[in-house]
Amino acid sequence: MKAIESFETPRPSEVNYINAQYGLKSWLLTKDHKRIALLYLGSITFFFFIGGLYAMMIRLELLTPQGDLLQSTTYNKVFTQHGIIMIFFFLIPSIPATLGNFLIPMMIGAKDLAFPRINLLSWYIYLLGGIITIYALLAGGVDTGWTFYTPFSTTFSNSYVVAAGLGIFINGFSSILTGLNFIVTIHTMRAPGMTWFRMPLFIWSHYATSLIMILGTPVIAITVLLLAFERVSRVGIFDPGLGGDPVLFQHLFWFYSHPAVYIMVLPSMGVVSELVANFSRKNIFGYSFVAFSSLAIAVFGFLVWGHHLFVTPQSVYAGMIFSFLSFAVAIPSAIKVFNWTATLYRSSISYDTPMLYALGFIGLFTVGGMTGLFLASLAVDVHLSDTYFVVAHFHYIMVGGALMGYLGGLHYWWPKISGRMYPEGWGRFAALVIFVGFNLTFLPQFVAGYLGMPRRYHAYPPEFQVFNVLSTAGASILGFGMLIPAIYFVWSMRYGKHAEANPWHLPGLEWRTQSPPPTENFEVTPVVTWDAYEFAPREEIEVVGKFGPEAERI
């Protein structure tokens, strides 16, 4: 008899974290990490759609070579705001604040995070930052690019730079508090028997992500403040009038913003590790390599920011160092891809929706990663910098990578989160539509960029139109594809099939409690004696206590 079937499936009890208390106050003042995760889920979905609207405007404008839909200054605002919203208010919080918040305590056998009230505070801070940023957008917008390069942002832009900067600054604290909570939780609140090397790789990724949040976010915080201070006092450290260097801003900005892309992708990689192992019913190949590669990505990610400054007056010698290090940072990511592939080899793969997203991630992230190598080469980057090649590269990682992982994780853990199953047929269909739409949107952009089409232009020479038309067509399909899960997830909350505790029949600790979980996660503190992805049968798997009224309370 397989070990995972040797303990009793908990009897679905009436009380879970969703219905334990009713009323708006019980949600808005909750300390339950699971409810906070749902609060985040709602807000980031809202911001995702706002960012998506801006994307739609970009693609509509770029259908034709002339700048006929939007004025150039308006277009500047549109792509700036698309970037700010998507990066700071969607991608960076997405997986950690929703899936991370929900699952980390459960995966380590804890009742909650180390600091539940700080967790709630982080959500309110996120909202405050979001509201201030939306005010900036509605009051007139920002047109500096999400990168806020000086001296345009400090001296010449006539848009709401300080307000947008303030929104981003405040939002940074949300990130810091989340990372702080995760680090302390993982160090101090693991259940008995849950050693570091028995933790799921999802936890390792989030630990590494939290390290980046802690070490990197403060630097963009001070940078944005210095930018605002310079704008208000009309002189400053980035100002050539005082002998300052605008490139110093870029150094400080990218010191955070490069590791930030690893904040966006590492959690997604953690999800993919879970999906690959669990949906191929095989222990992950090279567990410790994957675990350490997460840490390596976090560390190395801090050493490469200068590759965003290759076409600035940055010293060529520094450029060479950064170029070499940028090649090196690809290695731990490649290690993950190799290990996932080796896991899949000769395994028993079930092509459920989460697995489809995981497979999509592996392919698309690889494309994104390899095109990054072109950009890491100093000489090639001179040609490709500020073209659509770069745009395509980072969208392959952010959308083809991070977003796919997010969607895959959302589908995988949806039964645990909501107690309902999403409709599998529609899930697979949507995954396919998203995959096709995504590639149609961004693959032509590689070619257009290589052929010289610059980014951030609202008008372009006619020879690039065919690529842009393909791209906009793809974007429409992608947009349609993303609407489908939005609809069926909401639908499933009322009409979806009720999910049992362990609908996928997997060994993870989160599956050993009911769906949805009770507020305290586990009725009895688990004592862990098994490894993270034990699919092979084992005689003595122990779970202390049972569920239901016979449970022994410790």
Binding site: A114, F115, I118, I176, G179, L180, N181, I183, V184, H187, T188, M189, I214, L215, G216, T217, P218, V219, A221, I222, T223, L225, L226, F229, V232, S233, R234, V235, G236, I237, G241, L242, G243, G244, D245, L248, L252, F255
Partner: protein, 226 residues
Amino acid sequence: MEQQREAGTLGMWVFLVTEIMFFGGMFLAYTLYRSMFPAAFASASNHLDITLGAVNTGVLILSSFTMAMAVYFTQIGKRRPQILCLVLTLILGLTFLGIKAVEYHDKYTDRLIPGHLIPSAPFGPAVNEHGKPPDHHKLTLLTGATLPQVEMFYWIYFAMTGMHALHMIIGAGLLTFLLIYSIKGRFDPEYHSPVEVIGLYWHFVDIVWIFLFPLLYLLGRHLEHG
């Protein structure tokens, strides 16, 4: 409880890491421009009041001592000395801020506030002329220093000391909260994690000043006669 104490301490240390990186960005800017404009930075630094700066350093060091003693008395359960030490720490902190306010006011009267931060008093200090006996209230430019570079120094001075002062104000707020709960008797040898943790924050703010003082106030003193 023990685990919660450990978690609280760990949490504050992780937060202090973010503070180190936060101030680090400004220290970087300082390092860069000081190496680029040594004469201007020295000239500007020499115009800061070294007495007030040194007194403030002493004040903060004393406040760190009283804060450590407050934690000590809490650990051994002596409530009155604990409250006294917290009060002293708060008073010393406010003293620091008071002296800082005096210094800032001096900068305002000497027209050393950079740019158009104060629209009615843009940057424009009076400069001592060569050959004439130096006026204490005017700026002396060493060889090679230019006024824009001096303005750069003061921009960094205000950014760094301003941010530091903001952290002191927050610290004073936290101390007030500690005082109120201490008077209510909330802390004892079994539970005093907030005292320790806020103590860590206070010591960190002291450490930032330990570096700010020599870097901002002392860097050009050996060239004062040059």
